[in-house]
């Protein structure tokens, strides 16, 4: 499996609005291998959802447009496909699960309709066969009494169940890649773990690749094999999950991990969470240099990372960083800080 299933190269998606051009995704490169899970993490507004939507060409076309880069899926560049060709890819080869299951399901159609229409779109199944398959899928995602649920409308189900239905829909045509955009954010904490377990199990059983998008490091820790950290429209660090948690390099990643409340250490329960002061930069006029510079404790060194944007470079095997001051290269503590 040397060829990655999905390879995104230098993707740029810009929104052309009245206030200016919003460079939501500005040079994102990542790859997912068959059967592996990539976690895409970052705070709200960093462009991770737009990246996912861009892969499938689902961005709202009037204001938004993919202005550069390639999205190679099984060797084909999805950005060059027509809408009709993309319709064949969506749901069949790449499926997507969205954040809020309440609004993501059509409230006026039954569960059965929403499942069956997907199945019949991509396969030759008859109505009866599709219905039967629908019941199988509902059972697989852990919904009790699936035959009874078929005739229900979305508002009759709980949040967790609705999300399971969405997952069932996504799986219905055996996709190679599943993109889950904040799959647990809108759910209760107790249900979150269940849904994550479900996703992981299904991925293994169907030998699917998965991209999980989230702002929650805990979710990453649970399911991701590889992690890409996004900030202000760019990937700032990418590594295997183990490596990222063990040795985060980028100052932003360090801050993200430092902001996690921890329960184990008594010392860490006393004191305050380190929040990162300031806000992400405007994506209409991004800063000339490193985009994290304004909030970075290591910025402004003589090498001027605030003026020249750092490139994404491979620090160690499989570990990429976009920073002039990755942790490994900070030999000396900063001036003025006692060791």
């Amino acid at each position: 499996m040397s060829e990655p299933l999905l390879e995104v190269r230098d993707l740029r998606t810009h929104f052309f609005t009245r206030e200016g051009v919003v460079r939501a995704v500005d040079g994102v490169s990542l790859s997912v291998d068959r059967g592996r899970t990539l976690g895409l993490v970052g705070e709200s507004g960093c462009g991770k959802s737009v990246t996912a939507l861009s892969i499938l060409g689902l961005i709202p076309k009037p204001p938004a447009r993919i202005v550069g880069g390639e999205v190679l899926f099984r060797g084909r560049d999805l950005t060059t496909l027509s809408e009709r060709e993309l319709e064949d890819v969506r749901g069949k080869q790449i499926a997507m699960v969205f954040q809020d299951p309440m609004t993501s399901l059509n409230p006026t159609l039954t569960i059965e309709t929403q499942l069956v229409e997907t199945i019949r779109r991509h396969t030759d199944a008859s109505r009866r066969e599709a219905s039967r398959r629908a019941v199988e899928l509902l059972d697989e995602v852990g919904i009790p009494k699936p035959e009874a649920r078929l005739g229900d409308y979305p508002h009759r189900l709980s949040g967790g169940m609705r999300q399971r239905v969405m997952i069932a829909i996504a799986l219905s045509c055996e996709p190679d890649l599943l993109i889950a955009d904040e799959p647990t954010t809108a759910l209760d904490v107790t249900v979150q773990a269940q849904v994550l377990d479900l996703l992981d199990r299904l991925r293994r059983e169907h030998d699917m690749a998965m991209i999980v998008i989230t702002h929650d490091m805990g979710v990453i820790a649970e399911v991701a094999d590889e992690v890409a950290v996004m900030y202000a429209g760019q990937i700032v660090e990418q590594a295997s999950a183990a490596a990222l948690f063990a040795r985060p390099e980028h100052p932003y990643t360090e801050a993200l991990l430092g902001a996690l409340p921890q329960l184990e250490d008594h010392a860490s329960r006393v004191g305050r969470l380190t929040a990162i002061p300031g806000r992400p930069p405007s994506l209409v006029e991004p800063p000339a240099g490193c985009r994290f510079a304004a909030r970075c404790p290591y910025a402004g060194e003589p090498d001027g990372c605030a003026e020249h944007p750092p490139e994404l470079r491979e620090l160690r095997r499989g570990h990429f960083v976009r920073s002039e001051h990755p942790a490994s290269e900070r030999a000396r503590p900063r001036e003025g800080v006692s060791a």
Binding site: F245, R247, V270, E285
Partner: protein, 321 residues
């Protein structure tokens, strides 16, 4: 090998070291994206800015004001007497001397339209005001008191919805024995306030349950204050929009009633009565009916665009298409 805290694994960093990591402190004042300070602005100022950016709404607003100015001022300065009959000038097409032409009685239409505008627009606003007054009171009481009272009032309202608007207006006019300004106002408003009542009730209920009302209570504010500072300003927006939404219906109602002879009747001028005059001569002098009709259409178009503009301006969540 550096000695950063993270070498020890996530979360096990000694507190001392974590505390000493320094982040750049923001300068005085709150920081925004590009570092510029935030300017405090009220809801109304925001709305104004948004409204002004909407080209159609601005044009409509200006057009509306121009119309009002025309109706108010022109009759005062016009060289023509809108009531003077002069058959030698009858039914003339628009010209420089008479920009809208003259009617069958030789009266200058440009002046009569302005005069008629006073009446029609006046009735429009007055009736709208009455509609809003009744509707707001009814809806506010129902929404505010809730429960049994609300239920009862809404049932009655459901029943009232069955009253046909125009026939009732006709009956009311017959009661008063004819149409003049005030009878028209009553006739047009009597069966049109139901929708407003329903909207206001819905608004009041939503706002009552709103979290910021609870928050206000939590800090000790009592109902009169809550009403004044929170509920009223938010309903105001809806009401302003409602004015411009009701206006076209009332204007058309007045036009129809006057057209069939029940409302304002000649020689008094309203756009509807002028249309009635013009109708009789449509074969030979179509401009006589066209002029007041265009005036009505003009007003309705302005009102629609203004209402749309206001709606977009006051509800920031309306997405741009």
């Amino acid at each position: 090998m550096s000695s950063t805290p993270q070498e020890h694994g996530v979360g096990l960093a000694p507190l001392r070291q974590r505390k000493e990591r320094r982040y750049p402190t923001p300068p005085d004042g709150v920081q925004t994206d590009a570092g510029a300070p935030i300017r405090a602005s009220s809801l109304w100022r925001d709305a104004w800015y948004r409204y002004v950016r909407n080209r159609a709404a601005v044009i409509a607003g200006v057009a509306f004001l121009l119309l009002l100015a025309y109706c108010l001022i022109w009759p005062l300065v016009s060289p023509y007497d809108p009531y003077a009959v002069d058959f030698s000038q009858a039914s003339e097409s628009p010209s420089l001397a008479h920009p809208f032409g003259t009617d069958q009685f030789g009266r200058d239409l440009f002046t009569r339209t302005a005069l008629g505008g006073r009446v029609s627009i006046g009735i429009g606003f007055a009736a709208t005001f009455v509609i809003l007054s009744i509707g707001v009171t009814y809806g506010a009481i129902a929404g505010f008191l809730g429960g049994f009272v609300d239920n009862g009032l809404m049932r009655v309202l459901d029943a009232l919805y069955g009253l046909p608007y125009l026939p009732f207006a006709i009956i009311v006019l017959a009661i008063f024995g004819g149409g003049n300004f005030w009878t028209m106002v009553v006739a047009l408003s009597i069966a049109s306030w139901f929708t407003t009542a329903r909207i206001v009730r819905g608004q009041v209920i939503t706002l009552k349950e709103n979290d910021y009302v609870r928050a206000a209570h939590a800090v000790g504010a009592r109902w009169p204050r809550v009403l004044l500072r929170h509920l009223l300003p938010n309903t105001l927006g809806v009401l302003v929009i409602a004015v411009f939404l009701e206006l076209p219906g009332v204007i058309l109602g007045e036009a129809f009633l006057s057209f069939i002879g029940l409302g304002i009747s000649p020689p008094d001028a309203s756009w509807g009565s002028m249309a009635q005059d013009g109708y009789r001569a449509y074969r030979t002098a179509p401009h006589i009916i066209i002029v007041p009709s265009i005036a009505i259409a003009y007003l309705i178009l302005c009102a629609n665009f203004i209402a749309d503009g206001l709606r977009d301006a006051l509800d920031p969540r309306t997405r741009e298409t």
